[in-house]
Amino acid sequence: MNKAKTVGELKPGEKGTICCFKDDTLSLKLLDMGCLPGTTVEMKFSAPLGDPICIGVEGYSLLLRKAEANTISLV
């Protein structure tokens, strides 16, 4: 119940606010790309095979694999 939702679990059109990262190395890349704690992200759509996914951050579209999206926890 208390398990925090991740970006990878958002449904298309759903929004969430980034809380923290589960993977240290990936988090640095994500920070560079503007995914900061407190930033709102929107799940836009996923590839036909379910992976990768496209999310909206800071007014642009970011493409990432589901496994990577799952390292981003939401508030």
Binding site: T25, K29, A47, P52, C54, S61, L62, L63, R65
Partner: protein
């Protein structure tokens, strides 16, 4: 001469920020492609003439998101910018920023500024920002950042003169740091600055991180990035001027609904691949025939006009065909890169990755591997050059390694003659043409071998860098034709000069092998052939054909063919096939030409039927049966599916991987595969 060194300006920016367009605007055709020492990253430099006539050097650095590198390309940028004694350390950096995406783009700008490098901020794509309702107060930005800010449009060249004017004034003075990082590790930074007082605190922080004095580098980096974004958000909020959006983003979203749709997306992608494939196959054929004809006419003319002798022979039969053999690939390279440049320019390439990543990842490949693999069906050379945009090293090496397994157009003439020779021209179940089915089977065999090899390599290769896919999905744009044109010029130049050298050298060696031989046999060729034809009626043409055939049979190539006979005998090949294997090492299609010479036929292309009949009538001296049996034909076909019989491909692999390791591995692996599978095939059917 140190004082005479021209001012060096480096262009730095995020991928998709329009940095390359700006580079093309500044330098035009005055570009040079080289390598950064020790890495497989292209170094693009050019010369730009400023409005006052001064000439400056411009360096286009790879796109990067921050000075903390996450890939090999990004490491190149950081290495240069952190090392003031690097010969490529710039006097001024122009940071190119996509204004419609200003926050993320400014991160890199603030980092470079804080390193203490003189910097100019070039705001690109202001028109795009306008259309999505984002405008910024440039004067405020200039004042707050204490940096010259220039509004440019790299697509149509507006504002380039303004940027040149700013560059004329020399290195701009840098104001205070955007973010004073001293607070992140104050004692250590202060101590470091005491010893190196010319450095900025940010530079000091990087030195400390790089020499291992600061242990928790991840935390420092995370803190640094977070604080910077916080300050950028505040600044951008202040400089923002609300405008009405025209809704550009929406139309990108609408196109994406179709182009990444689960049915339409793949259908459209397949259609695009089909068009590219068709273009390389069909459109390239007439310029290729033209080049082929011009060079063979020229070499014929040379051998007629110049006095007979070794030098004329070398020129007419070694060098000129060698150069022709390089130039013949240019139409295919130009066409493929025209398409690839358009796909990149419009932003579609990122959607290809999006659609294909999951499938390709299973085989150790990347979403971007699809285009090289499919292009490989036309020709492996442009295909291998097209792997350049795969960022992950391992995925790129695997793609380069397996691409030549796709059956290229040069194998088609070999397949055609062999199929015609041994496969009956009949139908199965009344509909399927057996010959057609065999041809399809050969293509499939190559494709499956490519996927299988990729899978094996994925398992055995070290990861190198971690594979991740975190990239921007850019908005759709119209391609800039100037950039497309410059890409074509760049690729053609790279191929002709870098791979061309090796190709010409090997052609000359092969020419020597095929035209000289041990003893006096070749010297006395004419008399010997005359003797053998004594008493028979023959035309001059028949005599020449006999002569060519006699010469080849007594050449070093034949000697080699005979000496490898024990090795190729288990595959069913005799020494005549051996000669063809050796001469076609340069290029597979030479197989047909060599066979034609051995069987004394004047021109292979006009006389495939004659050649076929001659080959069919050859009798095995041991058994008295026809020599070209089904087993031998299939064995040869399988051999040509796998064998790395193309020195141009090896040369381009050498050029793209910057070393002999990969081309040698490719040659050994593919030859081994060819040998074993041809052996198996022969023994199944014999």
């Amino acid at each position: 001469m140190k004082g005479a060194r021209r001012t060096l300006v480096a262009l730095v920016g995020n991928p998709n920020s329009g940095k390359s367009s700006l580079f093309n605007q500044l330098t035009g055709l005055n570009q040079k492609i080289g390598n950064f020492p020790g890495v497989t990253v292209d170094k693009k430099t050019g010369v730009c003439t400023l409005t006052n006539g001064e000439r400056i050097d411009v360096l286009d650095l790879p796109g990067t998101y921050s000075v903390y590198p996450k890939s090999k390309d990004e490491t190149v940028v950081t290495d240069i910018l952190l090392n003031t004694s690097d010969p490529l350390f710039p006097d001024v950096v122009v940071v190119v920023v996509d204004t419609s995406n200003i926050k993320r783009n400014l991160l890199l700008f603030t980092q470079i500024k804080d390193l203490g490098i003189p910097v100019i901020l070039a705001l690109n794509m202001v028109d795009m920002a306008d259309r999505i309702g984002k405008g910024y107060d440039l004067e405020l930005l200039e004042k707050e950042l204490e940096t010259p800010v220039v509004n440019i449009n790299a697509r149509n060249g507006v504002g380039i003169d303004r940027l040149k004017k700013v560059l004329e004034q020399g290195a701009p003075k840098q104001g205070k740091a955007f973010f004073d990082v001293t607070e992140l590790a104050s004692d250590q930074i202060k101590e470091h600055l005491g010893a190196n007082n010319a450095q900025t605190p940010y530079k000091a922080l990087h030195s400390l991180v790089n020499d291992g004095s600061i242990m928790d580098t991840n935390a420092i980096q995370a803190k640094d990035t977070t604080v910077r974004y916080g300050k950028i958000n505040k600044l951008v909020g202040k400089a923002e001027q609300k405008k009405t959006a025209i809704g550009l983003k929406l139309y990108t979203d609408k196109i994406d609904k179709i182009l990444t749709h689960k049915i339409w997306g793949y259908l459209i992608f397949t259609a695009i691949l089909f068009i590219i494939f068709q273009a390389i196959f069909a459109w390239a054929s007439w310029p290729m025939d033209l080049i082929d004809n011009v060079f063979s006419e020229f070499s014929f003319w040379l051998s007629k006009t110049l006095p007979a002798g070794i030098l004329t022979d070398l020129l007419a039969k070694g060098l000129v065909p060698g150069v022709g053999g390089v130039l013949i690939f240019i139409p295919q390279i130009a066409i493929l890169f025209a398409f690839i440049a358009i796909l990149e320019e419009t932003g579609y390439m990122a959607r290809v990755v999006f659609l294909m990543d999951k499938i390709m990842r299973r085989f150790g490949l990347n979403g971007k591997s699809v285009v090289p693999l499919i292009s490989g069906v036309a020709c492996a050379i442009p295909a291998i050059m097209a792997t350049r945009n795969i960022e992950n090293w391992k995925e790129r090496m695997i793609t380069i390694f397996v691409t030549p397994l796709m059956s290229c157009s040069a194998r088609l003439p070999v397949y055609t003659i062999l199929i015609a020779l041994v496969i009956p021209n009949e139908r199965v179940w009344g509909v399927f043409h057996i010959q057609g089915l065999v041809l399809l089977g050969l293509y499939l065999l190559g494709f499956l071998a490519a996927l299988f090899s990729a899978y094996v390599m994925k398992k055995i290769m070290k990861a190198g860098e971690r594979s991740f896919l975190i990239m921007e999905l850019p908005t759709y744009k119209m391609p800039r034709w100037r950039n497309v044109g410059l890409t074509i010029v760049e690729k053609v130049k790279t191929f002709s000069f870098e791979a061309g050298k090796i190709i010409v050298a090997v052609s000359i060696v092969l020419w020597v092998l095929a035209s000289y031989g041990p003893g006096d046999a070749i010297k006395n060729a004419e008399q010997n052939v005359q003797k053998s034809l004594e008493g028979k009626k023959y035309t001059q043409e028949q005599f020449n054909n006999q002569l060519a055939s006699y010469k080849l049979e007594n050449s070093y190539a034949a000697k080699l063919g005979k000496s490898i006979e024990p090795v190729i005998k288990p595959l069913g090949f005799n020494w005549k096939v051996g000669i063809a294997l050796i001469t076609s090492f340069a290029a597979r299609e030479v197989f047909v030409g060599t066979m034609a010479t051995i069987y004394s036929i004047q021109s292979a292309e006009e006389d495939v039927t004659t050649l076929k009949n001659r080959m069919r009538s050859e009798v095995d001296p041991e058994t008295g049966q026809p020599y070209f049996t089904l087993a031998l034909g299939l064995s040869l076909m399988v051999f040509y599916v796998f064998a790395m019989q193309c020195m141009s491909t090896l040369a381009i692999t050498y050029r793209e991987t910057k070393g002999w390791k990969w081309p040698v591995l490719q040659l050994v692996y593919m030859s081994g595969l060819a040998y074993v599978l041809a052996l198996v095939t022969y023994n199944i059917f014999v």
